[in-house]
């Protein structure tokens, strides 16, 4: 075991896969020599060589589009989009090709591509550096979308993502890149894609969250406990395919559901979670399921971001309202 944060856990997963599988290549803007603007790939070029861990020209469509060709020719590219808000030029390649090649070629070409994507707000960044766009990708048939919230899951999920024959959007919650330290095994292990995790058991209300919001919910749960409420927390870990079973089982037990996300509220992951409660646990509901998410606005510049971000107090407020409904 070794103390790791999310940055070092992702680095460790990449190192393990680069070591054991020669078809894995890692590239993107500043990814090679410098080790990425967040230093996630630090040291990997030195260890695995410039042909396997490298800087690409500064072009997101080019990064994603060349990954299609590499995957078709038998490689397993792990590409980095420097910030979530820079991914838009790559949309055509991701949505028109990466997600579709398996279908279009009737399985002749698999697309084992991982797109690493630092996402989310709360770091006082420039515009285009704070988006949460998991719902956009989760809506695209052919893609899988994964969001770890801990160093352990970051490592295990990334290993699963690299080994997946389907393309995976791997969203890294950059706000907590270095905020959480955890003892993580240095051995190879994987966390399955598509499986949520019940982080804490409870009986009054189910809270579903993922990524950087887990830590905020955990703070709210401390407040809830003091107030005498028992909260069950589910970390989705994978957005698509969604682990409906775990959510439905929990809602059937607690009768109440709150979704917490830093994404814009409408048509988001939270909307899908509401649908699960309705379709799978309708008769067990004792209060209206609730979405606690961001406004339907563009992430404000740093001075206004506190209006946007979801706080533990806000989560606690909604927990209490839902329980007292």
């Amino acid at each position: 075991m070794k103390a790791m944060n999310i940055v070092s856990a992702v680095n460790d997963a990449l190192d393990i896969k680069l070591t054991e599988d020669k078809s894995v290549v890692v590239y993107g803007e500043d990814v090679g020599f410098e080790g990425g603007v967040f230093r996630v790939t630090e040291g990997l070029q030195k260890k695995h060589g410039v042909e396997r861990v490298f800087d690409s020209p500064l072009a997101e469509s080019g990064i994603a589009g060349t990954a299609v060709g590499m995957a078709a020719a038998g490689l397993r590219p792990v590409i980095e989009m420097q910030f979530c808000g820079f991914i838009y030029p790559a949309f055509n390649q991701i949505i028109s090709h990466i997600s579709r090649f398996h279908n279009r070629s009737r399985g002749k070409f698999k697309m084992p591509i991982v797109i690493r994507l630092p996402y989310g707000g709360g770091i006082n960044a420039l515009e285009h550096h704070s988006e949460s766009m998991e719902a956009i990708f989760a809506h695209i048939p052919g893609l899988k979308v994964v969001v770890p919230s801990t160093p352990h899951d970051a490592k295990g999920l990334l290993i699963s993502a690299i080994e997946s024959d389907d393309p995976v959007l791997f969203l890294e919650p950059k706000r907590i890149y270095r905020a959480i330290k955890q003892e993580v095994s240095e051995e190879k292990f994987s966390v399955p894609i598509g499986k949520a995790k019940v982080l804490s058991q409870g009986t009054d209300v189910t809270v579903v969250a993922y990524g950087a919001m887990i830590r905020e919910v955990q703070k709210a749960i401390v407040m809830a406990k003091e107030a005498g409420y028992s909260v069950e927390l589910i970390d989705l870990r994978t957005i698509y395919p969604l682990d409906k079973e775990t959510i439905a089982a929990s809602v059937k037990k607690t009768g109440r559901l709150i979704f917490v996300g830093e994404e814009p509220r409408s048509f988001g992951v939270g909307s899908e979670i509401m649908a699960v409660a309705n379709e799978e646990a309708f008769l067990h509901l004792e209060a209206p399921p609730k979405r606690v998410a961001a406004f339907d606005v563009i992430v404000p510049y740093p001075r206004g971001e506190h209006h946007y971000m979801i706080t533990p107090e806000k989560i606690f407020y909604e927990i209490e309202r839902t329980i007292k409904f």
Binding site: P57, A59, T66, G69, N92, S105, R106, G107
Partner: protein, 362 residues
Amino acid sequence: MFDQFDPAEDKMLQVIDNNGKVISKELMPKLSDEETLKLYKDMLFVRTLDHMIVSYQRQGRVYTYPPNYGQEAIGVAAGAVLRHDDWLVPAFRELGAWLAKGATMKDVFMFNMGFEEGTKFAGANHMLPSSVPIASQLLHASGIGYAIKYQKKDEVAMAFVGDGGTSEGDFHEALNFAGVWKVPVIFVVQNNQYAISVPVKMQTASINMAIKSKAYGIKGIKVDGNDIFAMLTAFRYAHEYARKESQAVLIEAVTYRKGAHTTSDDPTKYRTTDEEKEWDKKDPLRRMKLFLEKKKLWSDDQEKKLVDEYEKEIDRQFLETEQTVQYPLEDAIKYTYAEMPQDLRDQQIEHEKFLQWKNARK
């Protein structure tokens, strides 16, 4: 050769003139009479197949189809140089190259009848599905080029795009990546003068397409795309260069789309018959036929007989395809993922219950 036909001087590689006369003997590709005839027969086959698919479309038996008419030399010459392990990254108007790589008539029929099975090209080694979003496929070739180099394989990737595609950002990114990475990719611009209705002069202020290569530090050459010998010489040279030097090449093949953009398009709206007549003189089959006739290698009688054979075989296979194809529900679902999510499986099961109910009602 790249120096001899410097795109900056707007030079164009040509071997025969419009009357099939050899004007550049030293650039004539080495070919036996049999190989020469095969090139012509391949072009004739593509033209026949192409015309018949258009007529099937008019009969409502296939959906939209992009005719190759007038551009046959480029695909056929490409097909003649591509080896079994070389990669073909198609756009959608290079039928000769598809067939040479191992795509079947049935694939082509199925694609245009509306089956994804037709873009699998199951029997074609190292051939990607055809690409609809313009120029996006060029980046796939650059990525394949990287994989070839990384895996130290003796392969070349060849990618196609049209003149309109050179305006796309992905054209720039693909040539730039391939240039920086020094990978064996041949980019082929079929400059057929129009992107649907928009003439090439509205796509670029460059004096030609080949000159764009210079901005990426790669070699480029402009070739008479209606001269199969010129195309073959250019492809052979580029192939050797890309393979030996591990470098990308940009080939501009100057041609003319004699047909419509697709069967939904009406070119009389945006071009004149005078212009079409001018290009008729440069028709690739006409020119090669005149060449063959001078050498007494070909006659009208032989042509008529061969086209009859082709038509019968094409029609036989088309009918067979028409009668055997099916699109079961599971085919619409099961290829979305390599590993199918349970929820998607459940969606299919739910729909099958509806279908059972529907069938029970009858």
